[in-house]
Symmetry: C2
Subunit: 455 residues, 2 copies
């Protein structure tokens, strides 16, 4: 790579698209994973249109320069960590959306935030369900890159369930349309699904066709506290075997106390676990579900159970659950885990995490999308304390090993990125790893798309 | 290929696994697409276990013998058409199932029929939603190969939405596990999703982990007849923009009359279209939905509207809809189409098909999973009449071209197989075709897995 080569790219793109100001470059080195091994990019490129992304990829291919696609930079696994001498391709300027109420689809560029998509479609009386906790700050392109989940997944599924079509730019600059506004379409291989969750390693998504639903019904909510995690976990299994709650969230004692420190809602500081559950089945059915869940919680040994059909009252508890991450973050820096297990192993996972916390002498709070078996152990550490930082990193790996040992996954919804890659082979095994690499080599033979990430 | 080589395979497998009896071979030449260009296989192999499938694929790879994977042989696109000198690998003997009520999953071998899976999980109080019209005779492995749909897709999605994990045997005989009983898992590329719908071109599925739901609620049903297809199509768009029906099916005048000929239910023989719609929202909500749909039908100009919350009465109309294919089949041989369009183009598709029927002088009946825009034009012809057969085949292609021209797909749920392959590139374009082929070459470099099918 020479400066002359970069100058060539600059002339190909609208003024201001290629940024080399060192201060700006520095702000694109890391995502929210704050990868300490982040490199210094050659340039940040902020294209506005698919054609500009094509120009970037053609240039990168010709010059064998690695490209790290980046959404809003809210990733928690280091999927957008910059590479020394590479490009960061930020999709932040690609923000168009058009909503079609008749086909119930939206065509969206990747730079729009999840919350902006939700808002734009709600203005047309429609609903885009996926709701990562970070929905106000994460981009739809990043959601697609990681196949992001959220709180409503337990009933409504994850991002891939709402992606009908994509336009992607491949490593060599070819733009390909996959799928489209057809609710059922099995023509050719399921390539749309392959690109969802590929963390920028197979192509750059420049346009998405999203499936939308009629608006969600106002939910009924039930909140319960427990003096043991096992009791809460047992209730989860009983509930999901019988009904389809629209939310089934878990917070442990550390999270409850961290939230209570900040919000002073009167949460039970002595509880070992708190569940926030909801049903959005309509009318009496939703109330019946809430009553059923309240009964299951009581029979499982809940110390307190509170139900409400008032949306604002319910939302206060959901907000408390959403606030758990910032509340725990107030205690120190976070390593944010994302391990998942089959539902019956949920209590074992939580107790295993407690043991790791005790052994490594770090605070770990567990919050979970319990209905999906997807947990977020939050490892709290002081980055100024080198020994503690090292212990936190050990705990980070041990939690993944624990999850895999319980038949689980190292990542339920955040992606593998760079931080979790050393643990991937341990979960999926050498044959599946080789299959991943075969696909990668077929689509990106020079390995210029997000090398070192995901697979 | 020599007989000596085949003898080697015979000795590697349990007695009776490799079949060379000419009469039996003949019965495995075609699936329900009755491809006139079907070849005569060298042998039919009916393995019982993954290890036996591995032995078959290792042998086939070593000897460069093409392998056509086959489920129950009910495919409608010729995905299981035999190849001269190749193997047919039938999964019919692989019939194990185990249901886990706690994780709400079933681990199933591919040879089990869809109806058998439904029944086995229902015995544990659970529900496997995908319901192709052929559910009593099609295999779960075939459903996965084609990403099969059905009547409940409009609310509950298609096969891929219920596949959490797979074991697949690759072309070289390697057995790989992908995914597993985890409701959210983004570790590595979405390979499980890539194999679903790949029609046996990337590997042989030997085990499936299915996601199950709590049982479906008893539906409320509403039936309406119309004197124009447009009126019915308009109602579909109005309904799906507001609520989530659990079924929204369409039959045209030909289908109505064919069903009435056989079942004598008192259907309106003068109607241009009939809709069968249902809601399984619980209690009053389901009844509200039915009332809403009845009102939409009336306002759209329905000539008659009938609602019922009696499950048996509702099921009679669903059975009539399911019976449409055999009823039309009584009029002659069928070429069964599977084209889909974005919802607003539904009426244009149906009227376009009418024009093709008139021009080609063949009877074509249209039935549709209307809520998904997925239609099944049934082209009726007399195979003894060569000229008519040729006209029917012209119509078959013209209907696909019509659908693609309306922004649609050549196949919504049956797969491309061999019959529709000539039209695939026209829909997805050369760049997406090349991407399909890159993946295929990466996974099956010698092209021994179902060559000539799907892509």
């Amino acid at each position: 790579m020479t400066n002359a080569a970069l100058a060539e790219l600059v002339t190909e793109l609208p003024e201001g698209t290629v940024v080399t100001d060192p201060d700006i470059l520095a702000s694109y080195r890391q995502d929210r994973a704050a990868d300490p091994n982040a490199g210094m990019p050659l340039a940040v490129v902020r294209p506005h249109r698919t054609e500009e992304v094509q120009a970037v990829m053609r240039w990168a291919s010709a010059n064998k320069v690695p490209v790290v696609p980046r959404g809003a930079g809210t990733g928690l696994s280091g999927g957008a960590t910059a590479i020394d001498g590479g490009l960061v391709l930020s999709t932040e300027k690609m923000r168009d959306i058009s909503v079609d109420t008749v086909t119930r689809t939206a065509v969206v560029q990747p730079g729009l935030l999840n919350a902006e998509v939700k808002k734009a479609v709600a203005e047309h009386g429609l609903w885009y369900p996926p709701d990562p906790s970070s929905f106000e700050i994460c981009s739809i392109g990043g959601n697609i890159a990681t196949n992001a989940g959220g709180l409503c997944c337990v009933k409504y599924g994850v991002t891939t369930d709402y992606v009908l079509g994509l336009q992607v730019v491949l490593a060599d600059g070819t733009a390909v349309r996959l799928g489209g506004p057809r609710l059922k379409d099995v023509a050719g291989l399921s390539l749309t699904k392959l690109f969802v969750g590929s963390e920028g390693t197979l192509g750059v998504v420049t346009e998405v066709t999203l499936r939308l639903l009629p608006p969600q019904n106002s939910p009924c909510t039930v909140v319960a506290t427990f003096d043991s995690v096992e009791a809460a976990a047992n209730a989860v299994v009983t509930i999901t075997g019988k009904i389809r709650p629209s939310m089934l969230e878990f917070m442990d004692s550390v999270a409850i106390n961290a939230v209570e420190d900040k919000l002073k809602m009167g949460l039970d500081r002595n509880a070992a676990a708190m569940m926030v559950a909801a049903s959005d089945d309509r009318g009496a059915a939703g109330a019946d579900d809430t009553e059923f869940m309240a009964r299951v919680f009581s029979e499982a040994g809940a110390t307190e159970v509170f139900s409400t059909s008032d949306p604002d009252e319910g939302e206060a508890f959901v907000a408390a659950r959403r606030f758990a991450i910032p509340a725990v973050e107030a205690k120190g820096s976070l390593l944010l885990e994302d391990v998942g297990v089959p539902l019956p192993a949920l209590a074992d996972l939580v107790s295993g995490v407690e043991k790791i916390a005790a052994q490594r002498e770090v605070m770990i709070s567990v919050i979970a999308h319990a209905g999906d078996g997807n947990t977020h152990p939050l490892i709290v550490f002081d980055p100024a304390d080198e020994a503690m930082t090292a212990r936190a990193q050990l705990a980070f790996g041990e939690i993944m090993e624990l999850a895999v040992g319980l038949g689980g996954t190292i990542t339920g919804e955040h992606g593998v990125g760079r931080l979790k890659r050393p643990w991937l082979a341990n979960q999926i095994g050498p044959d599946a790893m080789e299959l991943n690499h075969r696909i990668k080599r077929a689509l990106d033979p020079d390995n210029i798309l997000n090398p070192g990430a995901a697979i």
